[in-house]
């Protein structure tokens, strides 16, 4: 994000008072092996999904906490965005999906041997939720189970 001091007062206030799930300690899962032996998945909150999949909605009750599956083999032309917010510059993702979901960069990292392999599926949520409870209690753990079932060692998370 632009640093807070660079934003308008209204934007700064909105972000400063945005509800966060604040915590004192962080859960920590240590890496068990080198990156070059690890399987990585992308998970994003950019509201992306396959063209033809159900778009995300603007939910008055704190946001849409559902998720969509994007096969790692999906081409940029097969993925679209239905994020409910217009508080970000869409001209970037119109030009290049990698700016939010680095699908091509991941394949390049695997081809170069920097990472062991790319997971079969990526997952997408909608960001800017005022109430992420559904994600913490339901859809987040569900996606975690799917990622583990797909042999994922580490997850690279990208916001909008």
């Amino acid at each position: 994000m632009p640093r807070l001091e660079r934003l308008s007062e209204v934007n700064r206030q909105t972000l400063t008072s945005f509800p966060c799930l604040e915590r004192d300690t962080a859960p920590w899962q240590p890496m068990q092996q080198d990156l070059a032996q690890s399987r990585l998945a992308l998970v994003t909150s950019a509201g992306l999904h396959l063209r033809g999949d159900r778009p995300f909605i603007s939910n008055p009750k704190g946001g849409d906490t559902s998720y969509r599956v994007i096969p790692a083999t999906a081409k940029a032309a097969e993925i679209t965005q239905s994020h409910a917010s217009i508080g970000f510059d869409r001209t970037a993702i119109y030009q290049d999906i990698n700016v939010s979901l680095p699908i091509d960069r991941m394949q390049e990292l695997a081809a170069r041997g920097v990472i062991g392999s790319v997971a079969p599926n990526f997952y997408s949520f909608m960001g800017a939720l005022r109430n992420p409870r559904g994600i913490v209690e339901e859809t987040g753990p569900e996606v975690a189970r799917r990622l583990k079932h797909e042999g994922v060692d580490a997850v690279f998370l990208t916001p909008t």
Binding site: C20, S85, D89, F156, L157
Partner: protein, 232 residues
Amino acid sequence: MVCVLANVFEEAGLCTVTIAMVREHAERVKPARALFVPFPFGLALGKPNDAALQHRIMAAALDLLQKPIGPVLEDFPEDEAPPTLLQASALPKRDDVKETDAADELTALRAYYERWVKDHRGRTAVGLCGIPQRRWRGLIRFLQAYARGEEADMKERPSDVSLEQFIRYGADDLKAFYYEARMAQRPSTPSEELHTWFWGETAVGQLLPEVGRRMAASEDPAAKAVAFGIAR
């Protein structure tokens, strides 16, 4: 949001690394490993079509996976003056742009839009509302009627999509069509100029804030929730 997800995943036994765009939120939510990037919203990986920069950001983030203890929050060292995301309210309202111009304007942009799609191997952000583009003059007339406060609807609206969501998807499609057409017409235009053109000079850029105003004034929370994503 991604910071919250990171904590959910770590608790489930997955290693995570997160790109953080609001440093202050990452400090509070404390995801296991986060790389703060000082770029504007919409530019998590720095810049479109700059694979080298995107790789530098990914490398800096992936390095954090090797840290022995955490939580870790590091700053990506490169910085740039962000482009300004201009919204409709930042530009003067153009009363001289007539309603009837919108459909003709759309038709005039079509060749540029088609060039964009061809040049990007079929990739387009258009395609949420489900209305075929040959029916978009009808979509514009529907939005104009809605903005005037009439009881408007389109028979093609899918039955499982509410009127308000349908309008949002239509508005997103129109924006994507206009911006992509303009980027094909004038390649390398800075985003600030694209926003100034769309909200300041086009008939659709005048229509969407009117649609948003009707939604924002609605008693229905479902309509209000959508309004903020149409224009502001």
